[in-house]
């Protein structure tokens, strides 16, 4: 440690090994932290390369890709039907999950008494968030596709996704409601407003940016979900779904179909599809972050 060993009061303390141990440890944890970053970079790089090679070596034309629907023949296959189906899925998932999810959160935050039923609902919510997504697919398959007799239609997929993202929407809405200061509620009550008037006209508007952020993030998660749609029966289709009662294949299921094919052409179609899917996701996340930053300052 010190060269002038004679005149320091710390002579008896040898910290060389301690310092070497600290440096080794820091090296290990920095390397471990970089591992995730490197893997993300490799993943994105791999997708980007395959996307590029799809354009150059396999002659995948983006115009064709966006204007053609599914096909068993690799040179005719496109993504239009899948994109349309995914957008419709998001729309119906949002409609199904948003109102019920926000309603549940309002009940839990503003109305629910602290009793066993409330605690049961809260505990169940935490548990639902840990149920594998494929199980939601089984639920929709048994209850709606076959139970009610819907068949493998887009609405059944939307129901599965709505049930899947509902806990996420509820929890983020609860957080947004909790962030509204009590002073706002009291101010409203003091003017003679009822509880519902207060929630409707004061609390919800104040919490809305947070609720929207949470909902968009939940939908960004839903748009990439594959397993529940496969369970519901969203597989190959060469037709475009025009409404909620049509059979469909969405972006992630179409990507799965292509990726599972042995042909290199299909693999590169899958990479092209992934670029579109990730673009959708990043845009949705970007909107959510923008909303959060914009309104965080106001509150």
């Amino acid at each position: 440690m010190s060269t002038q060993t004679d005149d320091t009061p710390f002579t008896g303390i040898d910290l060389d090994w301690e310092h070497r141990k600290n440096r080794i440890f820091l090296g290990i944890i920095v390397a471990a932290s970089m591992f995730g970053v490197v893997m993300l970079a490799l993943l994105l790089l791999d997708v980007a390369t395959d996307f590029y090679r799809g354009q150059t070596e396999f002659g995948i034309s983006l115009v064709d890709f966006f204007t053609r629907d599914g096909s068993r023949r690799e040179e005719l296959a496109g993504f239009r039907g899948a994109i349309v189906a995914s957008i419709m899925l998001m729309l119906f998932t949002a409609i199904l999950a948003f109102f019920v999810g926000v309603g549940s959160a309002i009940y839990l935050e503003e109305y629910a008494p602290d009793n066993r039923i409330t605690r049961l609902i809260e505990a169940n919510l935490a548990n639902l968030a840990g149920v594998p997504s494929i199980v939601y697919g089984l639920l929709a398959l048994a209850a709606f596709v076959n139970g009610v007799g819907m068949g493998p239609i887009l609405l059944a997929g939307a129901i599965a996704l709505a049930l899947l993202v509902m806990p996420i929407i509820i929890v983020s809405t609860q957080e947004a409601l909790r962030a509204v200061p009590d002073g706002m509620r009291n101010g409203s009550y003091a003017t003679g407003a009822t509880k519902w008037q207060t929630i409707r006209q004061v609390v919800l508007p104040a919490a809305m940016p947070g609720i929207m952020t949470g909902t968009i993030l939940a939908l960004a998660r839903a748009i990439g979900e594959t397993a529940p749609l496969i369970m519901v029966g969203a597989l190959f289709t060469n037709r475009i779904a025009l409404g909620p009662f049509d059979r469909f294949s969405a972006m992630p299921t179409q990507i799965y179909n292509w990726a599972a094919e042995p042909s290199q052409h299909f693999i590169h179609l899958a990479a092209t599809g992934i670029v579109v899917l990730l673009t959708f996701m990043f845009v949705m996340n970007g909107i959510a972050i923008y909303l959060r930053n914009k309104y965080e300052r106001d509150l």
């Binding site: 910290l15 471990a32 995730g36 009940y107 109305y111 169940n124 840990g130 594959t226 029966g233």
Partner: protein, 330 residues
């Protein structure tokens, strides 16, 4: 606001009473919304048990209750100890061990990746990283967590298996790797669960009060001592909760393992072999023309029920650790 029924100062009725009545209605509607989440859980239980019964007993629970005859088609002994899984084969075999093995092998393998790397990342973020590094590293890990599993599956089948594992297998071991391998599944699931371990563990470590760190520094402890002997032990129940969550997630993981590990139900010690997880089996059956009443369809629910019970027990365990941690640092 006054109406003719009013007496006194006008604070007892009229419009206010209507408002109270409508508030009650709204409260009931909102309660209905909240109970949908409980109904969802009940429906999952019901659907899985109901349909799984037809796999084992030849009739659904609802049918048995209405008088259908019970005939044990698949014994639990066979299901849990049989080593051949081919429920749809001409000579069917119902031993689920190979697909249970596939799921557990990949879960354990993934844990060997995600637990050490995730914990080390959490220690770095919580104890060492400067605010600037944190501000970059944390969102990057969040992106890693947000990538859809199908994309990880693609990463496995298009990169990890052919580009990384293929050459290793052929040059070092002389094995010709196929399109799928168990090791590829372990790696890709491990990578995708790193952010769960790191973010939840980091939260737990950050909750450790600074007084404890200062107490250790004042005794001449180094940063390594403080990280490994104070912060990690003090946050251990929160850290364990993150491990259990990652394991639970790995058990239920579907698309990445399907595209990484494949569809060959077999029990093997060779990491370059193709294996089938429970979830991959479910995907493979949904690909076919599963129709109500067939054994393919019924087996989906039998396997799904087992999967659900495995993740449920993990989640309950996770809940206990989480609660213990919250009690320690309130």
């Amino acid at each position: 606001m006054r109406t003719e029924t009013d007496s006194g100062p006008g604070i007892t009725g009229g419009v206010a009473r209507d408002d109270i009545e409508s508030n009650r209605r709204i409260r009931r509607v909102l309660f209905g919304c909240a109970s949908i989440t409980v109904l969802t859980t009940l429906a999952i239980f019901f659907v899985l048990f109901d349909n799984a019964a037809s796999y084992f007993f030849g009739a659904r629970i609802t049918e048995i209750l209405t008088g259908a005859s019970v005939e044990q088609l698949v014994t639990f002994t066979e299901f849990f100890t049989g080593t051949r899984w081919a429920p749809t084969h001409a000579t069917p075999a119902h031993g689920a061990l190979p697909i249970i093995f596939g799921t557990l092998a990949i879960t354990v393998g993934a844990a060997f990746v995600s637990i050490p790397i995730g914990t080390a990342t959490a220690i770095y973020l919580s104890e060492y990283a400067s605010p600037e590094v944190r501000a970059k590293l944390k969102p990057t890990l969040e992106i890693l967590a947000g990538i859809p599993t199908i994309v990880y599956g693609y990463f496995a089948i298009a990169f990890i298996n052919p580009v990384i594992l293929g050459p290793i297998a052929s040059r070092l071991f002389g094995i010709n790797i196929g399109r799928y391998s168990m090791l590829s599944g372990m790696l890709v699931v491990g990578i995708m669960t790193i952010p769960m371990v790191s973010s939840i563990s980091e939260d737990a470590m950050s909750a450790v009060p600074d007084e404890l760190r200062n107490g250790a520094y004042a005794l001449g402890a180094t940063k390594y001592d403080v990280s490994t002997r104070i912060v990690l032990p003090a946050s251990i129940s929160g850290v364990f909760a993150s491990y259990i969550l990652a394991v639970s997630r790995a058990i239920g993981e579907t698309m990445a393992v399907t595209l990484a590990a494949g569809f060959n139900a077999n029990i093997t010690a060779n990491p370059f072999d193709e294996v089938m997880t429970m979830t991959a089996y479910m995907v493979s059956q949904a690909r076919g023309t599963s129709a109500v009443g067939t054994v393919e369809y019924q087996s989906l629910f039998a396997v799904g029920l087992l999967l659900f019970l495995m993740t449920l027990s993990m989640n309950l365990l996770n809940d206990r650790f989480k609660r213990r941690f919250q009690e320690e640092y309130r």
